[in-house]
Amino acid sequence: MKLPLSWMRDFVSVDAPVEEISRRLSYGGLVVEHIEKLTPGFAGVFAARVTNVEKHPNADRLNLVEVDAGTKGQFKVVCGAPNVKAGMLAPLALVGAQLGKEPALEAAVIRGVQSEGMLCSERELGLSEDHAGILALGADALLGGDVAAYLHLDDTVLDVEITPNRGDCLSILGLAREVAALFSGRLRAPRLRAAHSAASPDSAQFSIAVSIDAPDLCPRYAALAMTGIKIGPSPAWLRRRLELCGMRALNNVVDATNYVMLELGQPLHAFDYGKIAGGKIIVRRAGETREFVTLDNITRTLDPNDLLIADSDKPLAIAGVMGGLNSEVSDSTTTILLESAYFEPMTVARTARRLGLRSEASYRFERGIDRAGQVGALIRAAELIRKIARGREASPIADFEPRKSEPREIALDLGAMESLLGASIPPGVARSRLKSLGAQVSTRAKGVLAVVPPSFRSDLVEQADLIEEVARLGGLEDIPALLPPRVSALAPLNREREFIKGTREVMLGCGLTEAATLAFIAPADNARFSGIQIAARPVKVTNPLSAELSELRVSLMPGLVTSLRFNLNREARSFHAFEMGKVFRMNGDIATEHSHLAAVSYGPYALSAVGEQSVDAGFYSLKGILESYFDATGVSPRIAFKAIEPADAPFLHPGRSAIVSLDDVPIGLIGELHPAEAMRLDLSEACALCELDLSNLIAYGFSPRKTFQPPPKFPAIRRDLALVLDRNFPADMVVKTIREGGASLLESVEVFDVYEGTAVAAGKKSVALACRYRAEDRTLTDEEVNRIHAVLVEQARMRLGAELRQ
């Protein structure tokens, strides 16, 4: 809301500098976003009355004009404007006047006649491009008075951000009231009294009937007919005020309604009375009416619940949103019907939002206007229209209020206020702050005030609202800053958070950098990277920002791959990153979310010293990271990696990918990107990816320390064996089979080498294993170990159908 201080001063006098006004408004909850100090484009121009006009003796087109500039004196000037005539008031630039960037005005002899000054057009004053004639000033201009001041050119405009609860501040009067309250100043609210008497001769001719068929949406509707209107431009000062507030001037009637809306906050609408069938207004729901052409000449589709203003034949306006083309005030309009109503905020908000039509009027109705301000605004508008459009009231004010508003009384317990704010505010201060807002305050009981909020503060509903007002008007400065007593019991540890933190530590420690990507994704990426759940149905965004961001990710992988590509495009040689975040999928009809961990590893992985060979990322390097992670969580013994069915992850290399499972429940995927996919992304090296659903792991947590086991007292003895097996036989099955053989004193079995080549048959591989034997109570002898190991070797050979490699 733009607040020109000159307009505000019509209602309140505050001596404080503009910066202080701005500061207090901001502290009080209405942020001043911008202070604009305006300067007029001219100086030395005064209001003067034209007293006499004569033809210039030496020029047909020029006149000799005598003017009276009050205290400044009487002057004779030469004037060429066609509209100059005796009696009018006009701006007079005297010798020495500064007009725009021109040199100071000098006395001049024009065609042999001395001119002591110049009557100015709007263009000469820099107000507009209008140079058709001199600017006519209103009759209220003071002779000899400064025109810049009269036109409010010397002004300061505050741009105030009005929070949604403060509809009452969407007016000059409302903001003036706020300023008066903040500075303990006195508000001079306008006195509004109707001018019309019932005996007026127009009354019979211009009757108004109003029928409110939807009192739930329109509790009050007031109207007034005015006739004798002469449509034309508004006076400069009024146009100027509208423009300062960011509105465009149209014609005197529309401008007057807008002016009153800005001043008092009550939106008004002017209909051409002649277009209203039977002079009868019906306020009703749209119902069967499906379409309506608004005054911007656009056909709007209506909802049966939209509120319309209609006559007996047709709709005239969408209530509170926009008027219709069919009843618009035109240049030939002579009689108007002014509407001043209260429409329920919800109905206006719903309709305006659905139609995408936000007007100054709907904006105010949505936020709640003064519940009792309808008649006053009509009176104010009539007064203006009389003055600037030669109109006269043609009817009494019709005022229908099928649903009265009851004033509410709210109890304010001063003790409760103190215990909410943690500060004691003297009762007298609380009382005067509430009164300055227009509330009626009385004492209900000891320490309890009875407060009746004014009709324009629909946001004050209960005690907490009043406490806020009291605190706010003190700029919250009454309230000290104290630390609360510490919570005595220790807050319970958040398991999920601790797990996520631990996971992050492991990933960082393994050399992966943490990434963050948006949850919004292109459907093509969801289709390409199905992540862990191959058949996952993506969650669609109903109102996406773009088609490229129209689904929520089912996997973290595409975001990481995009980030990889982003970095490779910027000279990076490698990219090793992880992300922890939510992924989403439909579960039946329900959109669900899941905490995932994903990683990408590409390019040289282990940084090495100068001259040493580094390792390139691939399946095994990333698997190693996952294994370190599972070791850290203590879950390793329950984890298995199994070769994947290509259909389960078509985006991964079918021979270099695995399903990760915990207790035989799949929890993730790991693999190298499919060569076709890598080619599409223009990746020349192996790109390893993995993703885990963290939910099962979180449930398990970082395993608590087990009971203490003493370090072994006696040494272990190692025996190796090498088995020749089919190339595709999984190594972990070998280990598992040997372990299941149950050889006594066998402590561990580990694969330490795998060989394929000329020394074994084609399609075969040799797996070398280290077996460790240990007894708890003695040092084993070679003979003893040899005996056990021989049995183990024989069993392994048999069970696995393997050859021994010598």
């Binding site: 409760a416 500060a423 109903t542 980030s563 439909m586 992985y605 282990a606 100068v610």
Partner: protein, 348 residues
């Protein structure tokens, strides 16, 4: 015999000169002290020596033996030392070359900032609660006193998804989710991602991070003065000492509502283009929990009261780190991420 011995001694000592090499020393050892060396030979010939002279000769043999051994020992030590010195020199490293690095990743700046914030609140006795991103209208709006069609909903342009749900526009849903399940006293912070319909740009992102915090207890125990105290302390701990102010504001779910500003970090209150010449920057929104919010979670507003606050992590991060482009947080440019520490969180 004695002359013979003296000759052995003289010759051995002459050959065991200071510059004798390892080979020469070995040769002397074998010739003089060896199993069939000169001294052994003489010992064997002792039978022919008259009895009276035997002790003297025996003594002399032992003396020569000790002398030669000592000399050999000394020379060997010297040689060993020399060879060690030589080998140390040969194995000299260029200590200025880069070391063998153990890879260590970098923490994302949003996480870093978030963990720093959480650490401060945890040290003040708040617990951390994680709540959901996909939310219903009740928990994101209605329970927080946003009425249907209320203009306050326009302040947060919402994403809706399949299944009639929405993406939370703030972490304030955490307040409702926690309070629904538990009873006061509560001191909780809820971090998480939030979503609003803003294009990714220098200033905004459709996904961002917030922390919601709240404290609730019996009426009178947690006051607006405590709200001011806790948040002033937070700003001091997080940003270092800087001036703060509380301004009245409006949020549907708090009453009274306030915004916390601090002195602009760039100009320290003097006024600069970044703070639009006001000298202040907005840090967070806060207030006393609205009675309607209490009612929505079935707390009696006459019995309980408390405060709540919410702040944007990226925004605050922008302030603290001086990052001037929101997009940097989601592009994962290593040249950006590598600037952040490899240690996570905590107050530094």
């Amino acid at each position: 015999m004695k002359e013979q011995l003296e000759e052995i001694r003289r010759r051995a000592m002459a050959e065991l000169s200071d510059d004798a090499g390892e080979a020469q020393i070995d040769a002397v050892r074998v010739r003089v002290l060896g199993r069939s060396g000169e001294l052994t030979e003489i010992m064997r010939g002792m039978r022919e020596v008259p009895n009276a002279e035997r002790p003297a000769i025996g003594q002399l043999i032992n003396q020569i033996k000790r002398e030669v051994e000592a000399r050999i020992e000394a020379l060997s030590e010297k040689l060993k030392a020399a060879s060690l010195t030589k080998s140390l020199n040969e194995k000299r490293l260029d200590v200025t070359l880069p070391g063998m690095r153990v890879a260590r990743g970098h923490i994302h700046p949003i996480t870093d900032i978030l963990e720093q914030m959480l650490a401060i609140f945890e040290s003040m006795g708040f617990e951390v609660a994680m709540t959901q991103d996909i939310e219903d209208d009740f928990h994101n709006f209605a329970a927080l006193n946003f009425r249907p069609h209320h203009p306050a909903r326009d302040m947060q342009d919402t994403f809706y998804v399949d299944g009639g749900m929405l993406l939370r526009t703030h972490t304030s849903n955490g307040q409702i989710r926690v309070m629904e399940k538990r009873r006061p006293p509560l001191a909780v912070v809820c971090p998480g991602r939030c979503y609003r319909r803003d294009d990714l740009s220098v200033r905004a992102s459709p996904m961002f991070t917030q922390i919601e915090g709240f404290m609730v207890d019996k009426r009178g125990r947690i006051t607006m003065a405590h709200l001011k105290g806790v948040l002033t302390e937070f700003v001091r701990a997080f940003f270092g000492s800087t001036a703060v102010r509380f301004r009245s504001s409006y949020f549907p779910f708090t009453e009274p509502s306030a915004e916390l500003d601090m002195h602009c970090l760039l100009c320290d209150g003097a006024g600069c283009p970044v703070c639009k010449h006001s000298g202040w920057t907005e840090v967070l929104g806060c207030g006393m929990i609205h009675p309607n919010v209490m009612r929505a979670v079935e707390y009696n507003p006459d019995e309980f009261q408390g405060f709540a606050f919410g702040m944007g992590v990226e925004r605050t991060g922008l302030l603290k780190l001086g990052v001037d482009d929101m997009r940097l947080f989601f592009e994962n440019d290593l040249r950006f991420l590598d600037q952040f520490p490899a240690l996570s969180g905590g107050v530094r």
